[in-house]
């Protein structure tokens, strides 16, 4: 292969605030350092289910609280991830993770997506199916599923 253009210059990491995602983030950061790529960390949160009329009224306030909490968690992760060699940015989105990964990867022209997955093996893992698999299905670019 004599391609002069690097295949990977912008890595998008999907982070769900679970420990498995840290393994994916570490993997992405190490890879970005080697490839001279930048990293964007994405967290997507789904809107709370609406089950009662009074919830509808409270929804904007809840949403603001959820958004603020997610923002704070995401900022902590970005601070922890920051290294002089690798530029790290973040995106906070509302919606199903797989859909937001697809959308953000397209918007920001990410050329690699990195996601974590649970370390379970065999049937339990297969049955879990998982967000990771859905991301692999829908992302517009290559996806690394990092086994935590």
């Amino acid at each position: 292969m004599s391609d002069a253009k690097p295949l990977t210059s912008h890595i998008l990491v999907a982070h769900d605030f679970e420990p498995d995602a840290d393994a994916a983030l570490d993997y992405a950061l190490a890879l970005a350092k080697r490839l001279g790529a930048r990293v964007t960390i994405l967290h997507a949160f789904d809107s709370p289910p609406i089950g009662a009329p009074e919830v509808l009224v409270a929804l904007p306030e809840w949403l603001a609280q959820i958004t603020a909490a997610c923002r704070a968690s995401l900022d902590r992760i970005v601070n922890r991830a920051s290294a002089p060699e690798v530029p790290v940015a973040s995106e906070l989105r509302q919606g199903p993770a797989w859909r937001e990964v697809e959308a953000v990867a397209k918007e920001l022209h990410a050329d690699l997506v990195v996601v974590g997955t649970h370390g379970r093996k065999g049937i339990p893992r297969a049955l879990l199916g998982s967000v990771a698999e859905k991301i692999v299905r829908t992302a517009p670019c290559p996806v690394i599923v990092v086994r935590g």
Binding site: K121, E133, R137
Partner: protein
């Protein structure tokens, strides 16, 4: 020493898979092994055995080895590892090889059809679910229009 296993299947997609695997192996200083699974096609002509002294499986294995030898030419000499021709169902062959060589990463292609279903190939999905290590799924370049 890290080990990356690239699964190449002889399709046009395999070039993209190999290119990604080579880029990552070069970036990470990893050894790149190649695997091709060989299985008996469902529609073997019934009189096939009359046409050659070799069994069909031997012919297929032979051709797979030739194919992998061609692929190795695209791998920088200092990154070259072993090649593996494995008889069996592709996802099992790939997962088993990854386990046997203690691969740190498996690279393989998705089917990447970008129609309405956006199906992930069953091989890629199963390897994602069953591989002992991280998996990079490389998409086929997206066509301009969603025409199958």
């Amino acid at each position: 020493m890290r080990t990356i296993l690239a699964a190449v299947d002889g399709s046009t997609r395999a070039k993209g898979v190999l290119a990604q695997a080579v880029a990552l192996a070069s970036a990470q200083g990893a050894q790149l092994d190649l695997v091709r699974a060989v299985g008996l096609p469902a529609d073997v002509p019934q009189d096939f055995w009359k046409t050659t002294d070799e069994s069909l499986l031997e012919v297929l294995q032979h051709r797979a080895r030739d194919y992998l030898a061609q692929c190795v030419a695209d791998v920088p000499p200092d990154r070259r590892g072993s090649t593996h021709v494995v008889v069996g169902v592709p996802w099992q062959a790939i997962s088993a090889t990854a386990e046997a060589i203690r691969a740190d990463l498996v690279v393989l292609g998705s089917h990447g059809y970008s129609g309405a279903d956006r199906l992930l190939g069953t091989t890629a999905a199963k390897v994602v679910n069953h591989s002992p290590c991280s998996v990079l799924v490389v998409k086929e370049p997206t066509p301009a229009k969603d025409v199958p």
